[in-house]
């Protein structure tokens, strides 16, 4: 900027004139203010997440706060590192102002907060640190800092974490149950997505998770830290769009296309359309991704048309991955794909923006129709693949493997002058898991004519039976049909008014289990030598041993919770147990009883499988032997 003084002849004017570039008025809005407002909104969302986590427990709330701090500090250090490397004294002047300009101009803190919001609470700190380093150093600074990255740093880092550390991304701390999740350790989103054969197509919530739609939208369940409180996210999205921090076209076209795809899918799958729509937005990262990650201006096209296009394309990919793919969550990957498309979209969008608008409308509409059409076709294809005729009689889809299957049948006698004029045979097939819990129950031919037991009553029975294990079934009070033709006995397995069918099913299952014998044994072992200082207590292990009467062999074991292992060895034992259990399964009882030392069972081909866990393994051995000694 040149500087000159100017005087008139009389010397009246002596101005110091400055020059610069036109225009000489500028808008008050600055990038710094935009990013600051975005940061505040993100922190509000995070605050809500912290509050929710405190309701789960102090450890949760503290972890939430610490995770945020760890992320912010990691990105700050990365920035510092890059600033140090890039600093050239003659070009950049004094280090202090250069550093503050660098830190304030790169807005890495936003990446830190967004990344933390997309991981679940159980993520270990080291995983979070790796993610932040990847996002800041590799995705952002390697390309030239803020404004130059091709892909969204938080999205790329999130996907890397999913691929490299997927198993550590748990939604709880330790072995606590997941709020709103299923017992087998899946979040509600995962369990919803992996329903056998129809990912994201069957639009009802698994009841066992115990959540209502309102719970979903208020975020009263655990998944990623920031993506659960849907209502708050939508409010934040509206606020940001109105304040022009984000461009409204991207989220509107994203959510709109998803909704337009969800409606025909719901119709094809014959589920409640409204419910399905609510679940599509309520579960998973759709709203969070659509509001905070897809709208990142650096990785969006610059024209409004482009911004709308990426919404449509991302919606296509999200629904495609959810319905046809194997991953429970498609949002991060679809955003990554779309980021790669952005330079192409910009390049193709030449010329002026106010001519040939019809072309833009045509392209957008065509893309939208192609999306809806393709997704509907895929949905129809998936629905056709679902095996027909099983919907009415299957129980809740098991998330665990079926270990053993037993078939049984029972022929009900025909009473004189009763409603049943002829006898009928009920066949059942019972699926058991490795600990002989009933996980599957199929009932066929249970009554003729079928009007006697309604579908929901059968479902009720099936649901009840699948909460039991074989031992629990044996403990049920017996029910039967008396000579007078009325049912005798009581319990959840007897449906009032439907005695014949209830009894038939009960007896059929009993018949299925006829070969199974249960023997219970226990063993208490001292953890420490007498007189030794010990922090452990003596533990008693109780085990139900399931054996086959006919073949006189051990089928499987069911262990009590207590006595399995001490806390410090818990993980080790959990990893080892399947191997140990396999030794027992199929073991001939006489052979087993012939062993006098646990080593005879556990040492296989010179390998001591019980090494490192001798206490628990020995205890188990003795407990099983104890079971056979009564």
């Amino acid at each position: 900027m040149a500087k000159t003084s100017s005087t008139t002849k009389e010397g009246e004017i002596k101005m110091e004139l400055k020059t610069g570039f036109a225009p000489y008025r500028r808008s008050k809005q600055t990038t710094f203010k935009i990013m600051l407002e975005l940061l505040i909104v993100l922190l509000v969302v995070y605050l809500a997440a912290i509050i929710y986590n405190f309701t789960l427990g102090a450890a949760y709330g503290l972890k939430a706060i610490l995770m945020l701090l760890v992320s912010i500090v990691t990105t700050f250090l990365c920035d510092l590192f890059v600033a140090g490397i890039r600093y050239k004294k003659d070009k950049d002047g004094a280090f202090g102002p250069y550093l503050s300009k660098f830190l304030l101009g790169n807005y890495s803190i936003i990446t830190a907060v967004i990344l933390t919001l997309t991981v679940p609470i159980g993520t270990p700190y080291y995983v979070l640190i790796v993610g932040n380093i990847f996002a800041t150093l590799l995705v952002k600074h390697a390309f030239g800092g803020f404004g130059n990255n091709i892909v969204n740093p938080a999205v790329a880092a999130r996907i890397v974490l999913l691929l490299a550390f997927g198993s550590t991304l748990k939604a709880t701390l330790g072995t606590d149950p997941i709020a709103g999740g299923s017992a087998a350790g899946a979040t509600i989103t995962t369990s919803y997505a992996t329903q056998v054969g129809a990912k994201w197509l069957l639009g009802s919530l698994p009841e066992a998770n115990g959540l209502t739609m309102l719970d979903i939208y208020l975020g009263r369940y655990s998944a990623a830290i920031g993506e659960t409180f849907t209502i708050l996210l939508l409010v934040a999205g509206v606020y940001l769009a109105v304040r022009k921090i984000i461009n409204w076209r991207t989220p509107v076209f994203y959510f709109g296309t998803i909704a337009l795809v969800a409606i025909p899918l719901a119709l094809i799958a014959k589920v409640n359309v409204g419910n399905y729509l609510l679940l599509t937005f309520g579960l998973g990262g759709v709203v969070f991704g659509g509001v905070f990650m897809l709208t990142d201006p650096v990785t969006s096209p610059t024209s409004n048309f482009g911004k709308a296009l990426i919404g449509i394309i991302a919606a296509f990919l999200t629904m495609l991955i959810r319905v046809a793919g194997n991953l429970p969550e498609g949002v991060a990957i679809s955003i990554l794909f779309v980021n790669f498309l952005v330079p192409v979209i910009d390049k193709l969008n030449g010329g002026v923006t106010n001519k040939d608008l019809w072309k833009k409308y045509v392209v957008a509409a065509t893309l939208g129709l192609v999306t809806i059409g393709t997704m509907s076709a895929i949905g129809a294809g998936k629905m056709a693949k679902l095996a027909p005729g099983e919907e009415d009689t299957t129980s809740e889809e098991p998330l665990v493997e079926i270990f053993a299957s037993y078939a049984g049948s029972y022929t009900s006698p025909a009473p004189d002058g009763g409603e049943h004029s002829s006898e009928f045979t009920t066949n059942v097939e019972v699926g058991l898991d490795i600990e002989f819990n009933i996980v599957k129950l199929e009932v066929s031919d249970y009554a003729s004519p079928p009007k006697f037991l309604k579908d929901n009553e059968l479902e009720q029975l099936v649901s009840f039976y699948t909460t039991l294990d074989v031992k629990g079934f044996r403990d049920l009070p017996a029910i039967s049909i008396s000579d007078a033709g009325a049912s005798v006995g009581e319990g959840a397995h007897l449906i009032p008014g439907k005695g014949y069918s209830s009894v038939a099913i009960y007896r059929a299952i009993e018949n299925a289990f006829s070969d199974i014998n249960i023997a219970t044994g226990s063993h208490t072992s001292a953890m420490c030598e007498p007189g030794e200082y010990c922090t452990y207590e003596d533990e008693t292990l109780t085990v139900d041993v399931y054996t086959s009467l006919e073949e006189s062999k051990i089928l499987t074991l069911n262990l009590s919770e207590e006595g399995q292992s001490t806390d410090s060895f818990k993980n080790k034992w959990a990893n080892k147990y399947p191997e140990i259990l396999a030794l027992y399964q199929g073991l001939d009882i006489d052979t087993f009883m012939g062993y006098t030392d646990p080593a005879e069972l556990y040492v296989v081909d010179g390998d001591d499988l019980a090494a490192g866990l001798t206490y628990t393994c020995d205890r188990l051995f003795y407990a099983v032997q104890d079971a056979f000694m009564h």
Binding site: L17, T19, G20, Y24, T30, G147, S303, G351
Partner: protein, 441 residues
């Protein structure tokens, strides 16, 4: 709010109240010892002097002629021609020789400076008269008016641009109120020159006094109406105004959609030249700016050719801190490096502002510039193509359509100098096109 198209408008603070109701001042002739006339036009074409050193001239004597597009220049004072002086020419962008007239303070007028047009002139006579009067677009562009009407066909409307969207300037507003009748009469002459069927005067809807003044006069006339336009920038740009008033677009010239546009003061100058025989010798300038810097902003009538330093000496300007003097309003002007520059007929005024401080962030690709560009261009893409020197892409992005209105730099939150980049990109493209034309010859 547009879905895919550009909004192309901005709401700006006009600051017009600073000078709109303040009484108009007149520069005392005694304070203007010399007047200066550039001898090179803004497009670098030469202006040939018709007098030499020592000649005596009166106010209204023809002193120079620009052969390219035939633009005669008339003296604004009576006096003696003295030696040429080289001065900075802001329109041209570099110094050039100026014709200097030493004022004898007698204010003698040339008796028959221009031939007065008789009643019921033909359109050729009107065009010829405008040509000889040297009338140029007084909205700031300075384009020779007669060329717009020369041989033009199929014109439906004459659009009189009284919008004045540039902040701070009120010269059009004030002259419209004071000379409403002359404006209308001049517009009707232009209508005749183009054989148009109607005249539309466009003015911003919040300019109540001007609307009132015009409406009072319009009751006496037919085929001429007033159209109110919203208060937005750049409503005064030809293209935006034609689209707003007539909902029509064009590629290069408004005559493609049967419209000819002229500034309100040009219409007044046409009337004065053709019906009173007076060429343009004075100019009403708006001297305004930020209140802390200039205490008594006002419109001031000065002879054409007065140095800016003389004009600004009339005002109470706070010179303690560095400041910027802009030749025009803040959006489309340049900051003067020296006050020794001559005012010209199309000068709108001079604005005193504080120097702007910029904080340059990286482009965050928000797309605000693209959304706001009135020409529908994509400044972000142009910037990238310019930095990559990708000529094909620059041409594909139609960068030569940029009118440097300044909106892109204004809205950019990262403070990137987009308008300047557009100027450079345009130069590059023109240069390249000229080189290619040369190759083809």
């Amino acid at each position: 709010m547009k879905l895919f198209s550009n909004k192309g408008r901005l709401r700006l603070k006009g600051h017009k109240h600073l000078t709109s109701d303040v009484p108009v001042r007149e520069l005392d002739l005694k304070k203007v010892p010399f007047v200066y006339f550039p001898l090179m036009a803004n497009n670098a074409k030469p202006i040939t002097p018709l007098v030499k050193e020592g000649d005596l001239v009166k106010k209204g004597t023809r002193i120079a002629l620009r052969e390219h597009m035939y633009v005669p220049v008339y003296s604004s004072v009576s006096g003696k021609v003295v030696a040429n002086k080289v001065m900075f020419n802001p329109g041209l962008g570099r110094p050039c020789p100026h014709l200097v007239i030493e004022n004898d303070f007698k204010n003698e007028e040339e008796k028959k400076a221009l031939k007065v047009l008789k009643d019921n002139p033909t359109k050729e006579e009107i065009v010829e008269a405008i040509k000889e009067a040297g009338i140029v677009g007084l909205g700031g562009a300075g384009f020779p008016t007669w060329i717009k009407y020369n041989g033009v066909k199929d014109i439906e409307f004459i659009l009189i641009n009284a919008v004045e969207c540039e902040p701070f300037l009120t010269t059009d507003y004030v002259t419209t109120i004071a000379n409403a009748k002359e404006l209308i009469e001049g517009a009707l002459l232009l209508k005749r020159a183009a054989d148009a069927s109607k005249v539309v005067i466009a003015i911003k809807k919040d300019k109540e006094a001007a609307i009132k003044a015009l409406n009072e006069e319009l009751t006496n006339y037919q085929d001429i109406e007033l159209r109110l336009v919203p208060d937005a920038y750049p409503m005064g740009w030809e293209r935006t105004l034609v689209e707003q008033v007539f909902k029509r677009t064009y590629n290069n010239l408004p005559s493609e959609c049967h419209v000819v546009v002229d500034n309100s003061q040009t219409a007044i100058a046409v009337y004065r030249a053709l019906k009173e025989g007076k060429p343009i010798t004075e100019r009403l300038l708006t001297i305004s700016g930020e209140p802390e810097l200039i205490k008594d902003p006002a419109n001031i009538l000065v002879p054409v050719g007065t140095p800016v330093s003389v004009v600004l000496a009339e005002f109470d300007i706070n010179q303690d801190k560095p400041l910027m003097v802009l030749n025009g309003g803040p959006m489309t002007s340049t900051a003067l490096r020296t006050l020794e520059v001559a005012t010209t007929a199309p000068s709108g005024g001079y604005t005193i502002v504080k120097p702007i401080k910029q904080r340059v962030d990286n482009c965050l690709r928000c797309g605000e510039c693209t959304y706001s560009c009135p020409a529908g261009l994509q400044p972000v893409e142009i910037k990238q193509a310019f930095e990559a020197r990708d000529f094909e892409r620059l041409e594909n992005l139609c960068v030569t359509k940029c009118v440097e209105c300044g909106i892109c730099s204004y809205v950019c939150p990262s403070g990137i100098e987009l308008t300047d980049t557009m100027k450079r990109a345009k130069s590059l493209v023109w240069l390249r096109q000229a080189q290619q034309q040369k190759k083809e010859k």
